[in-house]
Amino acid sequence: MTLTVTRRALFVIATSAAMMGLAHADQLDDIRKKGELVVGVLGTDEPNSFVDPKTREIVGYEVDLAKAVAQKLGVKLKLKQLAVAARIPELQQGHVDLLAASLTHNKEREAVIDFSLTTFVTGQKVLVKKDSGITALNQLAGKKVVTVKGGTQEPNVRKAVPSVEVVTFDTGPQAFQALQQGKGVGFVNDEVSLLDQFAKLGPAAAQYEILPANLSVEPLALGLRKGETKLKAQVDGALRELEANGTAAQLFNKWYGPTTRLKFQTRSFKIDSDQVEG
């Protein structure tokens, strides 16, 4: 994962000269011409995108959404696995056409990329070990928490608890491993990811708990390069169709519903808006 960063940094530098003054055709036309939609996913964030241990394929809620978009465009879907911190740069550099990577839609990011309709809404929370004695956010003051590099988790927890110490890792599972070993008192992540990891613990889950307070509410959306209005219209169109014909609700049930580890009883959102609150 570090290599990705280094390679990316080198690439940016090596091609910086070529970047200037280079205009190109519409991205939607390019995608249709090459017959392939390249979608950046995490592959480490169950159930949004993760590697199915049986088939070794990347599957998940966001992968199914990406499939629907590719189908709508009439092209093949190609998934590309990305580190959390690499998502926006990879999109900006054109290495992926679309992000379906547990991406929070917020105002800061609107300055650099565009977003589809909101595809999921989750809160961000903190998972702690019970024996740490921590039961509320303010008790994290001066303590060390772990999380993922390059997401909204770090800024959100620093905003909620200014004196908290934060150590970040390339993937969620690595950060979670650090928490399990006691290298931090809390693990900050999207609630759905925490619930999933919590469920995966099995009997050991009794030693952990998720603090009830939300650090923030995170609307997740697909990410697009800025100004690709034709592509955005198609992507949003595909999502609207999923909502209208009930597929979106089915997908929610398939990955988050009562029969899954996460056991969400109801869906608290609809895929119908690309607006977020500041």
Binding site: M1, T2, V5, T6, R8, A9, V12, I13, T15, S16, A18, M19, M20, G21, L22, A23, H24, A25, Q27, D30, A85, I88, P89, Q92, Q93, G94, E108, R109, A111, V112, V146, K149, G150, G151, E154, P155, V167, T168, F169, D170, Q177, A178, Q181, G182, K183, R225, K226, G227
Partner: protein, 244 residues
């Protein structure tokens, strides 16, 4: 298409990075990178010397010592540094007794694990450089000193090491250069060195190009400084072939 649109690329602008919190983060990263380099160098040198001497020890009573040193060097050099980092962070501390572990985890375990990985990794490479420096001193020098009645240690201290030093310092400086660059791998275990902080600034500022350009310039600047020191040493103390 490979390149982003010109109209979508923001203009290059370093000003947001050169003051306020972003600069503080980057400066903290540079400080930790430099600290890791200096500490790892200071700790790796004696370890490397010990390992090199163990590999060169007379085989009669010291054969196991030689095997151990050879095993250490091969085992360490043939595993990527990234794996060393993860091993020292995720695996080694778990083997410690609980009390010690709790104390370690309460402190900066990220930097400590990174330092351990860098020391061991650098020492293995430096040991080989020191060994070849010692071997560059002709066997006649050893034999002559032993004939004069000097023991192993005394021959090493007064005859061989002074000659070997000149041949050894240039490759050691080059290893120091590698060490400086290798500190960037510590980002995978959450040690807040320059690469870690650069990534943090990138995520917060969306100025990836500028951030990594600054980080690159810093790595390059310090590297050139180390190279210049090496050149200066070689100019001032050129390696002289020992008399036969």
């Amino acid at each position: 298409m490979f390149f982003p649109d010109a109209d979508v690329m923001p203009e290059l602008d370093f000003t947001p990075l050169l003051h306020g919190q972003f600069l503080d983060w980057l400066a903290a990263g540079v400080r930790l990178s430099l600290t890791l380099t200096v500490l790892a160098l200071v700790l790796a040198l004696p370890l490397a010397t010990g390992v090199a001497l163990a590999r060169l020890a007379p085989s009669a009573p010291f054969a196991p010592l030689r095997w151990l040193a050879t095993f250490f060097i091969e085992a360490v050099r043939n595993v990527p540094l990234l794996a060393h980092m993860l091993f020292w962070y995720f695996a080694v501390p778990e083997l410690l007794p609980d009390g010690l572990k709790a104390r370690l985890y309460a402190g900066n375990v990220e930097a400590a694990a990174a330092l351990a990985a860098l020391v061991v990794y650098t020492a293995a490479y430096m040991a080989e450089d020191i060994r070849s420096g010692l071997r560059s001193v002709p066997a006649g020098q050893w034999e002559a000193s032993r004939a004069l009645g000097l023991g192993f240690i005394a021959a090493l201290r007064w005859v061989v090491l002074p000659q070997a030093l000149r041949a050894t310092v240039p490759p050691l400086i080059s290893q120091t250069l590698n060490l400086w660059k290798n500190t960037s791998i510590a980002t995978v275990v959450g040690a807040a060195e320059l690469m870690y902080q650069a990534q943090r600034v990138e995520s917060a500022s969306f100025r990836g190009f500028e951030t990594f350009a600054l980080a690159t310039a810093t790595y390059l600047g310090v590297s050139l400084l180390i190279t210049a020191l090496g050149a200066l040493y070689q100019h001032r103390f050129p390696a002289r072939p020992a008399a036969h």
